[in-house]
Symmetry: C2
DNA sequence: TTTTTGATATCGCATCCCGATATTATAAAG
DNA sequence: CTTTATAATATCGGGATGCGATATCAAAAA
């Protein structure tokens, strides 16, 4: 199956996953790459990090730098606006699911 | 809520809707615009038509021209490959839904 | 003939995706 | 104490994509 098409189809799914995890608890970039792989989404750092930056600059996520074993990691957590977007995404995802299931 | 982000989040949803409807029965472009509006997705022709062309050139949809009241309409119906992609989308949508619900 | 309407097509700019590559910092190896 | 390895994050180039605005095209209505 053409990967080109599939990826684009699911980019929104991936971003919703990101918001969802960011709401559960703060995460850092390379953890998210592995998490997404567990869901069958292969994502290179060159794709993920710009997405995180964008979501942060748009106010959906915010960064908290933590010092972990001497190394600085950037943890992303969800903002109030991010929560709103996630809620809207849930509604839309539910509606989509209702329509296409069977 | 920022429309820029929201739109991108849901573009995949929209394409899945398109595949779903194309499987139920052939549709034509401007009908789909209204259908999507019914789901809360505003989509201009300048966005939809290139997407239909792309999905057709990638083999997810195929075109059948019908003469309706003297005018030619292009009806899109799903292909076998399109069905495969739709099935994959259903699986992924279900998985997403399971994870983010409640 | 002119205007309107419905459907489809295209243009241009800004944005975005993503593989490849680079950067930074610490730990481990020699 | 250099060198190498490893983990995490950042950036670059270019090709694709989204989308508002605008155009085309054909038939019906005025």
């Amino acid at each position: 199956m053409q990967e080109q098409i599939i990826r684009k189809l699911f980019l929104g799914f991936i971003k919703i996953h990101i918001l969802h995890h960011a709401k559960k608890e703060p995460f850092f970039g390379s953890w998210m790459i592995e998490e997404l792989q567990g869901h069958g989404y292969d994502m290179s750092p060159g794709t993920l990090y710009p997405i995180l930056h964008k979501m942060e600059s748009k106010g959906l996520l915010e960064i908290e730098e933590k010092n972990v074993e001497g190394k600085i990691r950037k943890y992303y957590k969800i903002t109030n606006q991010g929560i709103e977007v996630l809620e809207e995404a849930k509604r839309k995802a539910f509606e989509l699911f209702k329509e296409i299931k069977d």
